[in-house]
């Protein structure tokens, strides 16, 4: 019944993508050549499967497209999944790529100039996770939502701490910040839309293909 409708697979722009392409290839999802052309301004790309196309969007938007069913499946970091906590988003396969962590960082001198014992101000792209993390410690976190370059916020007095992705820790160090707490270990996950998984057998097949692709040794 829904077989005629092409499947849409959402992938994030940026770092994860380079690691994701080989895994996708093992699972039978190979983009046509236009995908790798840097000059291409296209947002949708055909794949070698006639009934599947790729869309390349921001990581947070991968979750939104898939949760709403506009894309049936996609790849996104567990940080984004936790942040949205969408009930219609399933993350059935841990792809084991894009490893990093979501951490709290503050200036070496501490965050005392802005923060009090039960109330902190945090600059982050992840207000929901941040609030939950601090709430679990009995601390009210006031989040300043930034979309990038959180690292400069403490030095400028915008916020006492930041919650951001850390992989090597170099950016933190260069901005005079130290990691004080680890919120979440992050890896990329295959995500699928709940209703699509239930109603379209092709989505179940994608899950099986990725499960097999990640099970075999790299």
């Amino acid at each position: 019944m829904t077989r005629a409708v092409p499947l849409t697979f959402a992938v994030p722009k940026g770092r994860i993508l380079d690691e994701a392409l080989p895994v996708m290839a093992k699972a039978g999802i190979v983009p046509e050549s236009a995908f790798s052309e840097p000059a291409s301004r296209s947002l949708t790309f055909p794949t070698t499967r006639v009934d599947m196309r790729l869309i390349r969007v921001r990581a947070f938007d991968v979750a939104t497209f898939v949760a709403h069913g506009a894309a049936q499946a996609g790849i996104v970091g567990s940080d984004v999944i936790e942040e949205f906590d969408y009930s219609d988003l399933y993350a059935p396969v841990d792809l084991g790529i894009g490893r990093c962590r979501l951490s709290v960082a503050e200036q070496e001198a501490g965050a005392a100039s802005i923060d009090r014992a039960s109330h902190v101000r945090v600059a982050t792209k992840y207000p929901a996770i941040t609030r939950r993390h601090f709430a679990a410690r009995g601390i009210q976190a006031e989040c300043v939502k930034l979309n990038g370059a959180m690292e400069i916020a403490p030095a400028l007095g915008l916020a006492g701490r930041i919650v951001d992705l850390v992989s090597s820790g170099r950016t933190l160090a260069e901005n005079g910040l130290v990691e004080t707490d680890r919120v979440l270990d992050v890896t990329a996950r295959l995500v699928v839309n709940r209703a699509a998984l239930k109603t379209d057998p092709r989505v179940g097949a994608i899950v099986e293909a990725f499960r097999a692709a990640t099970a075999e040794p790299a």
Partner: protein, 370 residues
């Protein structure tokens, strides 16, 4: 200060204009007819009740999701219903407590929530359903699941998928001794189908449940092959019996650890999906009525999304609209209405049959095509 436009409707609330309203009314009527034909007697509880009475029977829905306010009469908190199931439960536990069991009741009406879901902006929905009170056996579950499919079909749903689940599975297995460190975390990760998260929560033992998802027969076979399956034997046999009863009327899938919308169900639950509808069309299962703790099985459908998929072919039998000119014979008009015509009576000479959407006009006592 910016003044809000006075006729703007609040977010998540909308009018249904004639075409859509007709389709929705028709879908509701056809589904209710199915329920009536199986002798589910309609009840019509009120829109507003005491909050505590609704809340004690709705484990699945937080009272914070209801519109609530103080009753100037009793000075108690009232709530606008967000789900009709607890109202039916109240009726079964009070006014109809002495009625013979099993008791078959149906209902249809509008429900509202104070804040919409993440994915669906609607704050008001039409809920329609049936409850079989006094039984939560395999036979009762089979009757309700099949009835839900039949009602959805009658309402116009196509390509129906029924997704079975075992709502109390995790608690049952944990009680039977399957090791569960952080049960809440394991439940959450199973729910999100998050294999990585499950491993972090120390729930490797439970991982096979993540694989028992998909087309019913295959998923059931995988579940039966699990080394812990003997703990579930009666539940799995029950599922198989219900599946057999539905047979080929719907595509069947199994997702043993699905919990969405199954906060209060006991051993059996199901979700109904239909072609071209993004989310679920309805859900049902076995449960215990809050307060009286009586066993019951029931389902609810939310028909609003169907309207967008119902096309011309689902439109009520092609309506013939007859224009009645000034001075027509009212007896003839009444006779034609009795055999199915819809009439539009002229109010003055200038009325034009075509502009009023009429397909025919009354001339010489007979309908003539316009």
């Amino acid at each position: 200060m910016t003044a809000s436009p006075p006729d703007l409707l609040p977010e998540g609330l909308a009018d249904r204009l004639p075409g859509e309203a007709a389709l929705l009314t028709q879908a509701m009527r056809r589904a209710l007819d199915v329920l009536a034909s199986h002798s589910y007697a309609r009840v019509r509880p009120p829109l507003i009740e005491f909050e505590h009475s609704l809340a004690q029977r709705m484990a699945g829905l937080s009272p914070q999701r209801m519109f609530r306010f103080v009753d100037p009469q009793s000075l108690m908190t009232l709530a606008l219903r967000a789900d009709m199931t607890p109202q039916v439960g109240r009726i079964a536990a009070t006014s109809l407590a002495a009625a013979p069991r099993p008791l078959r009741l149906s209902y249809a009406g509008e429900v509202a929530v104070i804040r919409a879901d993440q994915l669906d902006p609607a704050r008001q929905r039409l809920q329609l359903g049936a409850e079989l009170i006094g039984a939560d056996t395999v036979a009762a579950a089979g009757e309700i699941a099949l009835l839900a499919v039949e009602a959805a079909e009658a309402a116009g749903a196509r390509g129906i998928t029924v997704d079975f689940t075992l709502p109390d599975l995790v608690d049952h297995l944990a009680a039977e001794g399957v090791p569960a460190g952080d049960l809440a975390a394991i439940r959450r990760e199973l729910d999100a189908k998050d294999a990585g998260g499950l491993a972090v929560a120390g729930g490797e033992e439970w991982a096979p449940l993540l694989h028992a998802v998909g087309p019913f027969d295959a998923a059931l076979a995988r579940l039966r092959a699990w080394e812990r399956a003997h703990l579930l034997a009666s539940r799995l046999d029950g599922l198989a019996a219900i599946a057999e009863r539905i047979g080929a009327r719907a595509r069947l899938t199994l997702d043993a650890t699905e919990r969405h919308g199954f906060e209060y169900q006991s051993w059996f639950g199901f979700t109904l999906y239909a072609a071209n509808i993004g989310g679920a069309l309805g859900r049902g299962g076995t449960y215990r009525i809050g307060g009286s703790d009586e066993a019951a099985t029931g389902f609810s459908l939310y028909l609003d999304p169907l309207v967008d998929t119902l096309g011309a072919e689902d439109q009520a039998e092609a309506v013939h609209t007859l224009f009645l000119p000034l001075g027509h014979d009212p007896a003839i008009a009444a006779r034609l209405r009795a055999i199915g015509w819809c009439t539009v009576a002229a109010l003055d000479e200038s009325d034009n049959p075509a502009r009023l959407g009429c397909t025919h006009r009354l001339a010489g006592g007979e309908p003539v095509a316009v």
